[in-house]
Amino acid sequence: MSSEALLELAGVVKRFHGLAVVQDLAFNLKPGEILGLVGPNGSGKTTAINLISGVYPIDAGEIHLGGRRIDQLAAFRRVHLGINRSFQVPKPFRGMTVAENILVAAEYGGGQPDQEQILEEVGLTAERHRVASSLTVNHQKMLDLARALATEPKILLVDEIGAGLNPAELNVVADLLLRLANRNIALIVVEHLLKFLNRITDRVLVLSAGRRLFEGTLAEASADPEVVAAFLGG
């Protein structure tokens, strides 16, 4: 195991109704690093995020953050230790305004964030007084991200934030994620859009049916017949 790793997964398994949807997942992540997590629908990407963030308990294996074992900790404790995430289907506090959404995380997340700067960063300053349920899905996704940032994470897990964005919007999000990585936040980015992923990282982990199919650069991945087959098959 690398001593500089911030996040380390080893032998992580998750079963639903006896069926393993994540199998023997293992990888490391360093501060400021961006790992692309790709794979066909149902390959276990979102589940992997749920396991790391503590939304589901793992059935086997270990997860370490900065050398400390965290896989038995409640989700809110992991948040305090520096893990946060966005949701594939965004989950803001729908009855609260944009600003209130961020305020909750600022109050409870264990950090001392600059809430104005976060609003600015995700491009929601003009929407600050709007109720979250009235936002577009894209804005709700950015609000998820803002709420996560308000807990001052060391690791940010981003689940398909690019789906539904136009190329210009994708560029804005890519720049934002790169800026976060520059601030030493480690990112796991689940994404189907490989062009988008290619802009922000060259390290990808390919999942297929819950197992690691490939780990390496995006270019190698797209040249790998197994990977190509998995995507066509999925």
Binding site: M96, E107, Q112
Partner: protein, 315 residues
């Protein structure tokens, strides 16, 4: 605390809360001098406290306790047993009743793992079990069994009335706190989206246990003061399911999740009940049955939600 905290949180001003508490105190201090039936006013305050205590739980965490009366009865019996068997003075015994209810709440804490109707029904069952336990003839030396208890030696209606007033105001103060504090903001987040609340860093299990125990304490204190005021009672008088039903109807009708809703609901509907209910109780139960169905279906947040929908942010 966050370094930059913009003007962002929508909450009613503290001034409204203070005015409400003062008005409520004045009304119930003056009312006995104007209207002779002090015991009716005491029961009304009891229901304001119970509706508010139930609102703290249901309105701020979403758990609807059908067996809320269990805490009330536990407080009544806890208070009475302290007076009768430990010779504790009445007011400390009322506080003791509140503590007994909190202990009962701790024991029932695991119920909070249940959701929705499962929680409500399991809670109803625990109140029934507690009633059967205290009414058990073999416990007669301690609880009076089916014959109930008599507390004449501490009978002091004026003091009991003021104690109930303080308990009702305490429930109101806590509700104001829930509407205006960081803790209340966390509760709002939890009821809005549980998973997201965890991702905001909220310790949900702890927060809802705290609310559960506060809600238990209010009912237990009210039960203690109520037992003191009536001084002679059968088990049914402090464990009857109709007490839970009243508290739920009053809170729901007025509006849960607000401070004013349960107060207005309890005062108006209890007054109505007394105006027409006593003579035709069977119709009243029917009416309340209908009222629950209609409220849950059409106005799940209660009467005040009509104002809220129009953008009036009531306390």
């Amino acid at each position: 605390m966050p370094s930059a905290r913009p003007d962002q949180i929508r909450q009613p001003p503290l001034r409204d809360g203070i005015i409400l508490i003062v008005v409520l105190a004045v009304i119930f201090l003056v009312a006995p001098k104007v209207y002779g039936n002090q015991s009716l006013l005491l029961v009304m305050m009891t229901f304001v406290a119970l509706a508010q205590g139930l609102n703290l739980l249901y309105g701020f965490t979403g758990y609807l306790p059908f067996g809320y009366v269990g805490f009330f009865g536990a407080g009544a019996y806890g208070m009475s047993i302290l007076v009768l068997h430990a010779h504790v003075p009445a007011i400390p015994a009322v506080i003791g009743g509140g503590i007994v209810a909190v202990i009962f709440g701790v024991i029932l804490g695991p119920l909070l793992r249940l959701s929705g109707a499962y929680f409500s029904i399991a809670n109803l069952a625990t109140a029934q079990i507690l009633l059967l336990a205290v009414a058990n003839p073999s416990l007669t030396p301690l609880t009076g069994g089916p014959y109930g208890l008599k507390l004449q030696q501490v009978f002091a209606p004026g003091a009991a009335y003021l104690t109930m007033l303080v308990i009702m105001l305490l429930a109101t103060v806590i509700a104001v706190y829930f509407r205006r504090s960081r803790f209340g903001l966390g509760l709002r987040a939890m009821t809005d989206d549980r998973v997201s609340a965890e991702m905001a860093g909220i310790n949900i299990v702890r927060a809802r246990l705290i609310v559960w125990l506060i809600s238990a304490a209010i009912a237990g204190l009210a039960g203690g003061a109520y037992a003191w005021s009536i001084s002679v009672y059968y088990p049914d008088a402090v464990f009857g399911t109709n007490i839970s039903v009243f508290a739920i109807v009053f809170a729901l009708a007025g509006g849960v999740g607000t401070v004013i809703g349960p107060i207005v609901g309890a005062i108006l509907l209890y007054a109505l009940y007394n105006a027409i209910g006593i003579t035709v109780p069977q119709y009243f139960e029917l009416l309340y049955g209908f009222l629950i169905v209609i409220l849950v279906l059409f106005l799940p947040e209660g009467g005040l939600s009509l104002l809220r929908r129009r953008g009036v942010d009531v306390l």
